[in-house]
């Protein structure tokens, strides 16, 4: 489980003060990033203000009963100051997301959130530290697989506000799946790519990008990981071998998103842990690598 965040971080990271709530959000824009990836911008001031990096919402895909259940979607980013708009980046993977992708600008969808614990963020870097070259400071590494990228623009922004310059390792099947990069703001993150077909960056998996970085001397980096389950396992193992702090953002089937159905659980690594089956929606979606078996 994610250890309780140190006080200093509270206000930027997960704030228990922000109770989740249910709202009807209007679609401000809905853009196709490629044939099956979409960027959805919703008008949801309260939700945008309350959300923290790594948290998610339960979003209705279309009015009516099809699909019956809402879909969990990470908060990709918030815009406006104070924040008014909430962004969601999603991939069409089935029935619900296909219907969602047809929702026009102006339509309103029920949305519940913000939900889940979100990522534990590091302490604010002191002015002095912030001026020092990144190499001499614990590197904040974002590891994204496929549409797992959706969770990171919001995380990167928070890290930047904390005086860090995150490094993004982005793996996908091929170049066309490397979507969402403009959301990171130009020149404020370093990015390395890995594609299975080699169409961009290294041929292979993100793990091969990560390997040398974990081996390299200097302060231990800190990992934030989101992507398909096999990738979460692989990166989690790498990080533990290297003794590097690593937070995994999990996915699971989520009927309710609010902790009452017990449907979304993941097995704790220690069978005697309490609870033995933490809920991804409530104890997660972010877990320390090693604490659970994705």
């Amino acid at each position: 489980m994610v250890g309780g965040p140190p006080p200093k971080i509270k206000e930027v990271c997960y704030s228990p003060a922000s109770m989740p709530f249910d709202t009807a959000a209007r679609i401000l824009s809905h853009d196709a990033l490629n044939s099956d990836h979409f960027l959805l911008t919703l008008d949801a001031p309260r939700m945008a203000r309350a959300s923290r990096p790594g948290q998610f919402v339960m979003l209705q895909a279309q009015p009516g009963r099809d699909p019956l259940l809402r879909r969990p979607m990470s908060v990709c980013g918030v815009a406006g100051s104070p924040p008014r708009r909430l962004q969601i980046l999603y991939k069409v993977t089935g029935h619900g997301t296909r219907l969602l992708s047809r929702q026009p600008r102006g339509a309103t969808l029920a949305m519940l959130g913000p939900l889940g614990n979100g990522f534990r963020l590091p302490a604010r870097a002191s002015r002095a530290a912030a001026r020092r070259p990144d190499a001499t400071r614990p590197r904040q590494i974002l590891v994204a697989g496929g549409v797992g990228i959706a969770i990171f623009p919001f995380v990167a922004e928070a890290l930047q506000r904390l005086g860090h310059r995150p490094l993004l390792l982005f793996g996908a099947r091929s170049a066309r799946d490397l979507v969402g990069l403009p959301l990171f703001g130009r020149g404020r993150v370093d990015v390395k790519f890995a594609t299975e077909d080699g169409s961009r960056g290294t041929r292979g998996y993100v793990t091969s990008l990560l390997e040398p970085l974990l081996a390299a001397p200097g302060p231990r980096p800190s990992l934030y990981v989101c992507g398909p389950t096999p990738m979460l396992r692989a990166v989690g193992d790498q990080a533990q071998k290297a003794g590097v702090p690593c937070q995994l953002a999990l996915e699971s089937q989520m009927p309710c998103g609010i902790g009452v159905c017990l449907g979304c659980v993941v097995a704790a690594s220690d069978p005697n842990a309490v609870p033995p089956y933490p809920r991804v929606c409530t104890e997660g979606p972010v877990f320390e690598a090693g604490s659970v078996r994705p």
Partner: protein, 321 residues
């Protein structure tokens, strides 16, 4: 048909139990009663039923535990729960003094476990009733659910009745049975105060690419709007079979749904799966029922129970395709 708005008496009395309104949050869909506080005040609804409680804590099934289906969902949570002791020490106190009816859902893998849990709950402060979940597999009889055998129903209900004499006893019937009327009569004969129905229908989901069941437990229970017509039919049958008050459920998501269950014979209703996709569902249903009655000048919601008018005697026990 509209009369001028008049206050509606939303109270309903089911045998020994009186609710401020007919809406109860269903077992397994409302946690232990406090989880949905952010969305509405528990005191706004008639009552709630806890997650099923066993003698010892249960971890439940391994994931995958749920799967969405057309207008419904399958679940095989595996009756994960904190156990009756933790419920009494950690969960129940948070509910004491709340002006709503608190019902503990009880199950066991053996008759003795049912009895032990019920005995432990008997007299617990702040607990108003227990609901027996008969859909639990009977490990002594090859895992067949207690609820499919009138004989077993009689046995377990009679003994639980003795073990928890002070608590109103709801007996929750399984729908996976040829003649639910017989199960209802068995429960009635054995001393049930109230019948609640339906629990979920046995179903299977197939992971086509991997040629595997989606659920780790292979089979699961179907719930949600998809089952509403099946549940209404069973309430109708049970209403004809016994004179016990009925708590009806199965796919209720709106005030109209709930009112249909009343007309079919329910004295109160439970809202389950709808809580997952609309955390305010029980409140919306309760408020909507009152508004519906007011708009039609119906003074007491209770008066709707069992008002279904059958056009002709020749109701057929068939699908009559």
């Amino acid at each position: 048909m509209k009369k001028k708005p008049a206050p509606v008496d939303m109270r309903v009395t089911l045998g020994p139990l009186t609710l401020k309104n007919p809406v109860i949050a269903a077992s397994g869909t409302f946690g232990y009663g406090t989880e949905l506080q952010p969305y509405f005040d528990l005191e706004a609804i008639g009552g709630f039923v806890s997650k099923g409680l066993s003698l010892k804590p249960r971890r439940g099934n391994a994931p995958t535990r749920t799967c969405e289906t057309a207008a419904g969902m399958l679940n095989a949570i595996g009756l994960a729960n904190v156990g009756v002791e933790a419920f009494l020490s950690d969960k129940l106190p948070a509910l004491r003094g709340k002006d709503t009816v608190v019902i503990a859902n009880v199950f066991g893998e053996t008759k003795d476990e049912y009895v032990a849990v019920a005995r432990r709950l008997n007299g617990a402060q702040g607990l108003h009733a227990i609901e027996l979940n008969l859909s639990c597999p009977n490990t002594e009889r090859g895992g067949l659910a207690f609820g499919v055998s009138p004989v077993l129903i009689r046995e377990v209900v009679a003994e639980v009745r003795r073990a928890a004499p002070d608590l109103p006893l709801l007996v929750k019937l399984t729908p996976n049975i040829t003649a639910i009327g017989e199960a209802a009569r068995a429960a009635a004969d054995a001393g049930a105060d109230i019948l609640s129905l339906v629990n979920t229908f046995l179903g299977l989901a197939v992971d086509l690419e991997r040629r595997r069941p989606v659920l780790d437990n292979v089979v699961g229970g179907l719930s949600g709007p998809a089952i509403k017509p099946l549940a209404l039919y069973m309430v109708h049958k049970v209403y004809a079979a016994t004179r016990l008050p009925i708590v009806g459920m199965g796919g209720i998501a709106s005030a109209e749904d709930a009112l249909e269950f009343l007309v079919a014979g329910s004295g109160a209703v439970q809202v389950g799966t709808a809580n997952f996709y609309d955390p305010r569902a029980p409140l919306t249903v309760a408020e909507g029922m009152e508004a519906w009655c007011r708009a039609r000048g119906i003074p007491r919601v209770q008066d709707l129970t069992g008002t279904l008018r059958l056009p002709n005697a020749r109701e057929q026990e068939t699908t009559a395709g």
